[in-house]
Symmetry: none
DNA sequence: TAAAAACATGCGGTTTTTTGCATTATTTAG
DNA sequence: CTAAATAATGCAAAAAACCGCATGTTTTTA
């Protein structure tokens, strides 16, 4: 087998599966490990793939590996935030959780909006505070350093005494069978009470999190009124949720 | 599974859910905890995520810092803050108000200090949150946008149920006849209750504010245990307060 | 055409990387 | 405080990478 043939084969494999193992290439083409190594070396030098210990990965795969953290899914979140904001009217009492999507929403709130926002998320509070016309109510309790949100019985009891018009939850995982699931026990408690204390429940999530599962159950899909993603409501992945009676924006 | 693949998966999870548990990563990819820990170690070293006990957090989510714009009287405030910190011991329950001096103190808290801080000041909460070893309890209520602190009956009631070891107040005006005075009605209510709920009351102020007067009365000098300024305790301006029975640092 | 040069490939030995395990701290939670 | 979970550390085995060199093969060129 000629050198060129080998390299073409390698590239095809890498583009097909996003990864190749040096080992399997040796066997596939019955050449020594050294030869494969040198092939990968060349392909790597010309930027056709990325060599790693044990094989190689496709260039595109590698780009996903290191997204610039600041802009990761930023545009998606902005789209979501804008859709969400359209649901808020003057005078409303709005309950929100934490999470990057909620923060993005807080940043994009129109200047003239006059409403009351209630949250335990410190980053969210900081954003709301910068807004000229909205009132901010902080749910007090002990801070969970991981999620930067107040958690505990006090916060939950406080939410109990509230009946908000609408509630925005950034969610970590949702699927049709299990509904919303999360990975933080304390946050789950909060979200459950927030859902109970709101007339309308709006879930915000980037589409990647749809049909994924986390350890703790928050609520079933029946509790969700609106689901917002960066996708068009006509997207196939969203249809099951529409069928389940959820308004999808 | 290749090392790079694993790390890609980890980053993806962390950027998606803001948090991952080492444990679930082990299971997901069927490798030992050690391998995961070393992966997290590397990703952490290159700043792709933040390693914590039991897993990792996303970098971007963790980076919320409050804008530190004020350099006015910075050195003075640092001197005051350092004196104040010397009064805090491990295990203490510390009640603090807001204000730039308190924020400065929050920033200078020694890393190994293990105490519980209770406050309604959002900038203070943000600083306390960044500290590795202290617990933060937020007093919830409506935010006063001018002072960036929660004010109202809820906050006051919550303080009532606390008996703190020590209380740090950044004060706006103090003189011998009227004691502490302030210019914000809501904040005055809070400070009064904080004083009642603390075994020891410490007042922080730059010397400019000594012997000045504001519209609302907070408390007399008899309620103050310690007064801290940037001046040497031997300074003439402070002598009347020492005579009044206040410890001056 | 024949020698020389350049290239490709594989082999043996060495070095580096990766990984899991055992043991010992450290941290966390009840 | 105590017990369980998690982290750090050193170690060892396996895998992979690397290096120099020998052996062919192809290309260049005199």
């Amino acid at each position: 087998m000629l050198k060129k043939e080998r390299q073409t084969y390698i590239l095809r494999q890498v583009n097909l599966h996003n990864k190749v193992l040096s080992n399997s290439l040796c066997k596939d083409m019955s050449v020594s490990e050294d030869t494969i190594r040198r092939d990968l070396q060349e392909l790597s030098e010309t930027g056709k793939l990325v060599k790693v210990h044990g094989g190689a990965l496709s260039q595109s795969f590698n780009k996903i590996t290191y997204p610039s953290t600041d802009t990761y899914a930023q545009t998606d979140k902005r789209i979501i935030a804008e859709k969400a904001i359209s649901l808020i009217n003057d005078g409303m009492f709005v309950l929100t959780g934490g999470g990057t999507t909620i923060i993005e929403m807080a940043r994009l709130l129109p200047t003239q909006l006059h409403a009351t926002f209630i949250t335990g998320s410190i980053p969210a509070v900081v954003e709301y505070m910068n807004h000229p016309a909205i009132d901010v109510i902080v749910l007090g309790d002990k801070i969970s350093k991981v999620s930067k949100i107040t958690v505990g019985a006090d916060a939950i009891n406080r939410i109990k005494s509230i009946k908000a018009d609408i509630c925005f939850l950034g969610i970590n995982a949702i699927d049709l069978q299990n509904g919303i699931t999360d990975n933080d026990w304390d946050v789950v408690q909060l979200k459950q009470q927030m859902i109970l204390s709101s007339q309308k429940v709006v879930c915000l999530t980037i589409s990647e999190k749809i049909n994924s599962l986390q350890p703790f159950h928050v609520c079933g899909t029946d509790k969700i009124d609106v689901l917002i993603t960066e996708l068009d409501p006509g997207d196939p992945i969203l249809q099951p949720y529409i069928s389940a009676g959820i308004t999808v924006l």
